[in-house]
């Protein structure tokens, strides 16, 4: 039996609290390229450069999904990669977080291409969406902060109308 929307919401809230409590200062990230053009990867790589210094915030990259708490997914999810993505997700210990990174992963670049799912959400249960083509390292840091509940979300308050809602 599928849980109702309220139960799902409550479970998601619990998971978020658990992650904030357990991974407050040590969260291991596994990146997963599902057919991206590698610019998202370039920006992710920049996170460990001294200028952004991801490790000062308690995030670390790990090469194995079995050691990872957070799956950072880039690319439009090529159909041939769906099974591998699913297996990667299943190999991770819980509680786990999936972060879709970049416009491809959000369904913005290949929405109807026959060779891709077009949206990471079709294969994996995504918890945080980071837009941008590519998302800058600052946007990625903000997204990771949102994922562990350390930074507040700003998007629902933005209107993208000039002079309103914070957008210039």
């Amino acid at each position: 039996m599928n849980p109702g929307p309220n139960e799902t919401e409550a479970a998601a809230g619990q998971l978020r609290e658990m992650i904030a409590a357990q991974f407050g200062r040590s969260l291991h990230i596994r990146t997963l390229d599902t057919g991206s053009c590698a610019v998202c990867e370039q920006e992710i790589r920049l996170l460990s450069a001294p200028h952004y210094d991801l490790h000062r915030l308690g995030f670390f990259f790990t090469p194995a999904p079995r050691h990872a708490d957070l799956l950072l997914v880039t690319g439009p999810m090529v159909r041939a990669f769906g099974v591998a993505a699913r297996k990667t997700y299943e190999a991770m210990p819980g509680p786990k977080v999936v972060v879709a990174t970049g416009a491809c992963a959000l369904g913005g670049v290949y929405p109807q291409d026959p060779f891709v799912h077009g949206n990471v959400g079709e294969v994996l249960p995504v918890d945080v969406w980071i837009p941008g083509c590519p998302p800058s390292p600052l946007a990625l840091l903000h997204g990771l902060g949102v994922a562990v509940g350390r930074l507040a979300e700003r998007t629902p308050g933005l209107t993208f109308i000039a002079g309103e809602g914070g957008a210039a």
């Binding site: 904030a20 409590a21 407050g24 200062r25 000062r56 915030l57 308690g58 416009a103 959000l106 369904g107 913005g108 670049v109 929405p111 959400g121 995504v126 918890d127 945080v128 969406w129 980071i130 837009p131 941008g132 083509c133 998302p135 800058s136 600052l138 946007a139 840091l141 903000h142 997204g143 902060g145 949102v146 994922a147 350390r150 930074l151 979300e153 700003r154 998007t155 629902p156 933005l158 209107t159 993208f160 109308i161 000039a162 002079g163 914070g166 957008a167 210039a168």
Partner: protein, 112 residues
């Protein structure tokens, strides 16, 4: 030194705040457009939808529907109607709800 020691003993506090200081390079980033509904006509909206390389913009009646998640910040819509849109300067757009990224922009002369 005692400051860092005391800070290290506290639970759940980051080593350094984010951002540690405002980042200069943030001003040079390409960012999604912000629209001016008072200047935005149906013709402008249709031109923007036509030049958008992705599915980020579409018109639904008298509303321009903007999906910031699908936007690649290419700036073509700003070029197409510079009086009705400009760069928003917003790039920290991470969200836990995908639909929070979809915004509705009213068009001038619309019923809203």
């Amino acid at each position: 030194m005692p400051f860092w020691f005391a800070r290290g003993l506290r639970r759940g506090i980051v080593t350094t705040r984010y951002p540690a200081r405002p980042d200069q390079s943030a001003a040079w980033l390409p960012t999604p457009p912000a629209f001016r509904p008072g200047q935005l006509t149906r013709q402008d909206a249709d031109r923007m939808v036509a030049v958008c390389p992705g599915p980020a913009l579409r018109r639904r009646g008298d509303t321009l529907v903007f999906d910031a998640g699908a936007c690649t910040a290419c700036g073509k819509c700003i070029e197409a109607a510079p009086h009705a849109a400009s760069s928003s300067g917003e790039f920290e757009l991470a969200t836990t709800v995908r639909s929070a990224l979809i915004k509705e922009i009213p068009i001038r002369g619309g019923l809203r």
